[in-house]
Symmetry: C2
Subunit: 261 residues, 2 copies
DNA sequence: CTTATTGGTATGAAACATATACCAATAGCT
DNA sequence: AGCTATTGGTATATGTTTCATACCAATAAG
């Protein structure tokens, strides 16, 4: 590895070792809780398990849990109520006017596009792998989620109900995660989970209604995996994520295109 | 989210929050150093920067660096010599007989195949993206690495020299990382780095000679990216990783096929 | 108005990390 | 031989984080 080469000029990375960012336990705890909420495991209005239980589940002292709770409270993600029937309650994200929403989305555009590309890479391949490895229980699980989702976007009224939208997004995340799980690859599974959790922050609070065809792609993806048609599964997944990208773009103010994509 | 559904049966994950694994600073430091070695930024026989310098670079106290050094020393990854011209020296991995090697590889097969699938997902897409985003400096960097690699596997004698093999693997990792970098997506870049680093532990110590065509795929990938032919870039990358898989399989004892792939 | 549930507070011990200073081995130079 | 520069090894005092435990305070149900 000689010096002054194109390699070294391009990458400042030669012979450099990344600096240490040791996450404190309470930060990791906050991340994990945030992730569970982002994936829709806990919906707005739901209560998290009580602190003492979280402490056990997460293998960390209650003190640490409480520090994490302070963080999430500060972010406006949960509220804390004392007393019996109190607890840690997941908040509903503030509903933004469509102008604010567009402006907000715009600041996040580059990140969102990166996440969508990352999802495309991993989820298309996951769909492909899943064709060869899915079991009947995977199919059952996917079918059930399809049912749930179609119920949630069946009528126009429901498609504009914030609570239904949250439930739909949760089932959607679970659907994609189940495919990644069926692919039987932990690295890809983790990547898909990370990507979905990362998307929630920018977009989870942004959809004000579901499209009536929101579930159509899921049906075709499911059919392809059921029929073990890997090429089709990959293709449909790719189209699905492209459609997600498009519907996000439609929420943007018209002048808001970046140099991306 | 009702109970007893197929979803909940399949995934123990509903309403469960991951437990906290807070890495201590010295573990993170050890990881970062290990990763740099795995990516070939430091080759066997090279010295790491002195402890005091690592301490500065990595933004952590010397005490912490020393704990990390103890870990890596214990793993046999580095040796420590005192005195002037002493320091932290990267060790050459023990050379295994081909029987031991096969047995070792076999225990790691499942992991290796997972990593290769993860690489396929991310690197094929990275190659595709890179076609649209690569700059001239990316191409220069890739070309230089091609030159380095072809020099390192030009003659039969060189292809069996352990030192050349290490250098080749380092350039190889850098080549793939540069493509990921050219793709301009941090998530994919990190995934590619993680995957390459994770592969090194099992296989870095396993190649005893380079094939004379070891660099052929790299040339075609480079050409496709240079010509901005996304389909070809993706296809060639896919073939390249498949070839890697195949040459690893050839190192296995004949009876060692798992249920994978 | 008692009881069960849940968050809030306090405290001391253990582990971890830092900063600083100094010791010890080693190679090269005079 | 001995000085010097470099580098790892050791010691210590301090501050922060995390933990385990115990107890306090608010709240709703019976």
């Amino acid at each position: 590895m000689q010096d002054n080469s194109a390699v070294d000029q391009l990458n400042a990375r030669a012979r450099t070792i990344e600096s240490v960012h040791a996450a404190a336990a309470y930060e990791v705890a906050a991340d994990n809780i945030r992730r569970a909420i982002a994936l829709g495991r806990f919906l707005p209005g739901d209560k998290l398990p009580p602190e003492r239980e979280l402490s056990e589940q997460m293998q960390v002292s209650r003190t640490t849990i409480r520090e994490a709770v302070r963080v999430l409270e500060g972010e406006g993600l949960i509220t804390v109520k004392r007393g019996a029937l109190g607890g840690l309650v997941v908040m509903r994200p503030p509903s933004l006017g469509s102008a604010e929403m567009g402006a907000y989305l715009r600041t996040q555009l580059r990140l969102i596009y990166e996440i969508l590309d990352f999802r495309t890479a991993n989820e298309c391949f996951a769909a492909r792998l899943a064709c060869g490895r899915r079991t009947q229980s995977h199919l059952d699980c996917l079918a059930e989620l399809l049912g749930t989702m179609s119920g949630l976007c069946a009528q126009k009224a429901k498609r504009e109900d914030v609570s239904n939208i949250s439930q739909f997004l949760a089932a959607d995340a679970e659907f994609h995660l189940t495919i990644a799980h069926a692919a039987g690859n932990k690295l890809i599974g983790k990547a898909v989970g990370d990507a979905h959790a990362a998307m929630f922050m920018p977009i989870g609070r942004v959809f004000k209604r579901l499209e009536d065809r929101a579930n159509a792609h899921h049906e075709t993806i499911y059919a392809a995996i059921r029929d073990q048609d890997a090429d089709r599964a990959e293709k449909e997944m790719s189209l699905h994520i492209a459609a997600t990208r498009k519907s996000l773009r439609n929420l943007l103010p018209p002048n808001a295109e970046l140099s991306n994509d």
